[in-house]
């Protein structure tokens, strides 16, 4: 049905005209915000750093800066792991050489009967001197502890006719990760002391320390005001070549005793090398081991800051057939 004219007119009238629409648009368009422009520009200058960077490098940089604590921890841990795994050179003892000299033929027989003398590792040299026969012995004791060798040395010294007993340590250079070296430098003992009497605990501590090559002079116990057991260990003055950590679980408490590395009677340890040049140090070494007839070429000296490494190598690999003159040793000395 066709709409009536009046109806059409009515609709036309109700619809807003284009002119009126322009008025509405002008009302919005003419709204002037220039008053706030200055503040907006200041805000923009102050906060422009907060916008996200566009480039990949920029995004990565911002991410790292946002999480810098985490990244620092990761890098630190990685460096620590790398440092602990870095190989370091360490001198490791592989045994000892026990040397002695005998003039009396009867003494020779007594020496031969010693149970620990392994003829397979024994080298003998007989010399005549002033119508006397002098027999020199070099016994290589591989994987021996200094304690054992000292015991053998005492056995020898108790035999009349033994002249000049000498112990020479054998070392080799070993490369291993730093953490391994650090662990190795500390000998650890763990003892569960529950239900152990003082005597039993004392015996166990002494036994385990001895196994690790550590000499103890005395072990005593005392009680505190709460009746808790406290251990008092007195170390032997000589013979302790390495540190140790002793952990004792005594039921209601745990004791931890640490003994750091103590210098013992190592050869050349008493050398005062401060201010000495390489030749002077060589002279000192040759004097100490004069029976070995060392040459300058047998003694290698290297320096690193205050540390001096003296490397003595006079062995059969050098073409020296006289085995009793052999000596192989490496020591690190410090200027005092």
């Amino acid at each position: 049905m066709k709409q009536s004219i009046s109806s059409q007119d009515s609709k036309q009238k109700n619809k807003i005209s284009e002119d009126n629409m322009n008025i509405y648009w002008s009302a919005l368009k003419d709204e002037d915000h220039s008053n706030s422009f200055y503040k907006t520009s200041v805000w923009l200058k102050n906060n422009s750093a907060l916008s996200k960077p566009k480039t990949k490098m920029g995004i990565m940089k911002q991410y790292i800066l946002t999480h810098k604590v985490k990244f620092s921890l990761i890098i630190f841990t990685a460096l620590l792991l790398a440092a602990c795994n870095m190989p370091v050179t360490q001198n490791e003892s592989i045994g000892h050489i026990l040397s002695w000299t005998v003039e009396n033929p009867e003494t020779v027989d007594k020496v031969s009967s010693l149970p620990w003398v392994d003829k397979n590792n024994l080298s003998v040299n007989v010399k005549e001197s002033d119508n006397n026969e002098v027999t020199s012995y070099n016994l290589v004791l591989a994987n021996s502890s200094l304690e054992d060798v000292q015991m053998y040395s005492k056995d020898l010294e108790s035999i009349p006719g033994i002249i000049e007993v000498r112990i020479t340590p054998l070392t080799e250079e070993v490369e291993r990760p730093l953490y391994s070296k650090m662990l190795d430098d500390v000998f650890k003992i763990d003892i569960n002391a529950r239900n152990m009497s003082d005597e039993e605990l004392s015996a166990e501590v002494e036994r385990q320390l001895k196994e690790g090559g550590i000499d103890v002079e005395t072990i005593n116990f005392k009680r505190d005001e709460n009746n808790r057991r406290l251990i008092d260990i007195k170390m032997s003055e000589d013979g302790n070549k390495k540190g140790f950590q002793l952990n004792i679980n005594d039921g209601y408490q745990k004791m931890r005793i640490e003994e750091k590395y103590k210098k013992g009677n190592l050869p050349m340890e008493d050398f005062d090398i401060k201010g000495k040049n390489d030749n002077e140090i060589r002279q000192m070494v040759k004097e100490r081991f004069k029976d070995k007839n060392l040459q300058d070429s047998d003694i290698n000296i290297s320096r690193e800051g205050d540390k001096v490494t003296v490397d003595i190598d006079k062995s059969s690999s050098n073409g020296n057939e006289n085995i009793q003159d052999n000596i192989k040793m490496k020591m690190k000395l410090e200027t005092k």
């Binding site: 807003i16 009126n20 919005l28 706030s36 200058k45 907060l50 566009k54």
Partner: protein, 197 residues
């Protein structure tokens, strides 16, 4: 701070008011929403300023950014892109010196339109962009789509404003050229009193 900040601000100044009004028109009479939209658009613009190849196209470039941000805000209302608005606030940009009923009516009518229709009609009327430029800004498939969208939007606006005008308390423009007519002024006063009630 970006070295181009000063340059960006210089380019922005002549288009600043129109940009604010565009954000106002897009944001459904919600001041906070329009402020957020402007804030994000400004930072986005500064961040991407280096991508502007032709300085003479700054106006369309910046209005494109505002349009994109508007569409993004519709998609994800919870996304906070750059800063927490709790920490850094844009200073007050909407300083009204006097009440403007026509503007309010228009904004109300705009809020009834769909997002793309609203954006298209604002770009045309407020921004003064051509249909080709709106086609680029809105990234549409064809120019005819923009034409029909504009036509639809304007039709809807007229209908809506007409209805709003006839509703009680609304401001109706009887005769825009009849300034000073005592009868019309009296009717205006009565209508204003009704609106306040």
């Amino acid at each position: 701070m970006y070295r181009d900040t000063d340059k960006f601000i210089t380019y922005l100044e002549p288009h600043y008011s129109d940009a604010v009004n565009y954000c106002t028109g897009l944001s459904k009479v919600n001041r906070d929403e329009s402020k957020d939209l402007l804030q994000e658009s400004l930072l986005k613009g500064l961040e991407n300023f280096s991508s502007l190849r032709d300085d003479s196209k700054f106006r369309s470039w910046f209005f494109t950014i505002i349009t994109r941000e508007f569409y993004n805000s519709k998609r994800n209302k919870f996304r906070k892109k750059f800063v927490s608005s709790d920490d850094i606030e844009l200073p007050e940009i909407f300083i009204e010196t006097q009440k403007n009923d026509q503007k309010d009516l228009l904004l109300k009518a705009l809020s009834t339109l769909k997002s793309k229709e609203r954006s298209a009609v604002l770009l045309y009327e407020l921004g003064g962009f051509s249909i080709e430029e709106i086609y680029i800004i809105q990234k549409e498939k064809s120019i005819s789509a923009i034409k029909s969208r504009l036509s639809r939007a304007r039709e809807k606006l007229r209908d809506c404003i007409s209805k709003l005008e006839t509703s009680p308390g609304s401001m109706k423009i009887k005769n825009p050229n009849n300034i000073g007519d005592i009868q019309d002024e009296t009717i205006d006063i009565i209508a204003g009193l009704k609106a306040e009630k």
